[in-house]
Symmetry: none
């Protein structure tokens, strides 16, 4: 999980990043409002850990910024202020949870995970692409409101394409994503052809447009628009 920590107090900032990194996350940090806004404009994070009391301005500005950008980062506010007002203000503007200093790192982590999960799974559980709607939790795929049945490989493939729509994906990448490295680089891509064929047929039979284009010599591309 990619996390941005916005916290001006150096000791705390380093503690948090070290702790989260030790857990296998990729954690970046900054100490000011200005630096935070730059980072948030340029990169995508899964979670943002936001201290409200920053030297160069109110952390709420970060929330405004994210909101204006239409970004969906999960935001966890940390703050020394314990007033109900601040808490409510943060949650109203779009934060997902609120933690008051001092706190245990373990709890911070647990909340972070919870917030992220809630955001990605519960609220945003429908993946929509034009006439194709995927309910990730239910593993349900609809085309034009009609339910279609995909096999595991087809489903994984579709999800992978949708996650990379507009980009060319090599057959090697597909093989790696769907089979992992148990499959030692077969020299034939016959099985990919077959699954592509089946996925295409099911989508088009259900009335979807022909998004899945092949790129000669490379792989495939799922049209972005």
């Amino acid at each position: 999980m990619k996390i941005l920590v916005i916290e001006d107090e150096r000791g705390l900032r380093e503690n948090i990043t070290n702790y989260l990194n030790a857990d296998g996350n990729i954690c970046e940090s900054c100490a000011s409002l200005e630096a935070a806004l730059v980072k948030l404009t340029d990169y995508h994070y899964d979670c943002v850990l936001l201290d409200i009391g920053l030297p160069d301005g109110d952390g709420f500005a970060v929330l405004d910024h994210l909101k204006a950008d239409g970004k969906m980062e999960a935001v966890l506010i940390i703050s020394a202020r314990n007033s109900l007002d601040d808490r409510l203000k943060g949650l109203n503007i779009g934060a997902d949870d609120y933690l008051t200093k001092p706190f245990h790192l373990a709890e911070l982590k647990a909340r972070l995970m919870a917030v992220f999960r809630r955001k990605t799974l519960n609220t945003n559980s429908k993946l929509v692409f034009n006439e194709i709607v995927i309910d990730v939790l239910g593993r349900n795929v609809e085309v034009n409101g009609e339910h279609i049945i995909l096999t595991k490989k087809e489903y994984d493939m579709l999800l992978y394409f949708l996650a990379n729509k507009g980009r060319v994906i090599s057959k090697n990448a597909i093989a790696e994503h769907l089979w992992g490295d148990e499959m030692d680089m077969h020299d034939s891509f016959d099985f990919i052809y077959t699954h592509i064929k089946n996925l295409r047929k099911k989508l088009i039979d259900a009335g979807s447009a022909d998004y899945l284009k092949s790129v000669y010599g490379i792989g495939y591309k799922f049209l972005a628009t």
Copy 2:
């Protein structure tokens, strides 16, 4: 009933879990605040047994966490501290009862049950899904108004499916929920197949629709509508 025991003293922890398991509960345990927060984030329990004095922090953090997550687990605090302060603090933050060491296991169990009953009574004790009605307190299942008899595993399974209706549930998740994590990832799912078969038969024989769909390669899903 699925119970989490958070207690750092090993002897006591094992005594409690053994005692409760012997009673037909599924009881998991952990010895630290951190492990507890992780488990509580990832799984659902009916009851939490919480020791306040943990090596890596104050057990009250667990209560905060549950509250922030909007979870409804019944919490019973156990603690060596007998001060009125702690007691009040725990109850204020959201614990449901308080027990002071040392105590008799029988009393622990009685309080646990009482707390759980109170909690479920106050919330909705009837779980209704179309023609299936479950009286959680009475452990009663009706289909089209007719009472059917389920074994413990079947009942737990049905409850779990209903709590996650519309979502695909992996066989591993089912195994973990019904047998706890002592079950070291058996490579065979035969017992799940069998219980599923029996549950299906009982439901359908009683006139219910065929809601319990299998999802090849993953697990099962209880249709949402």
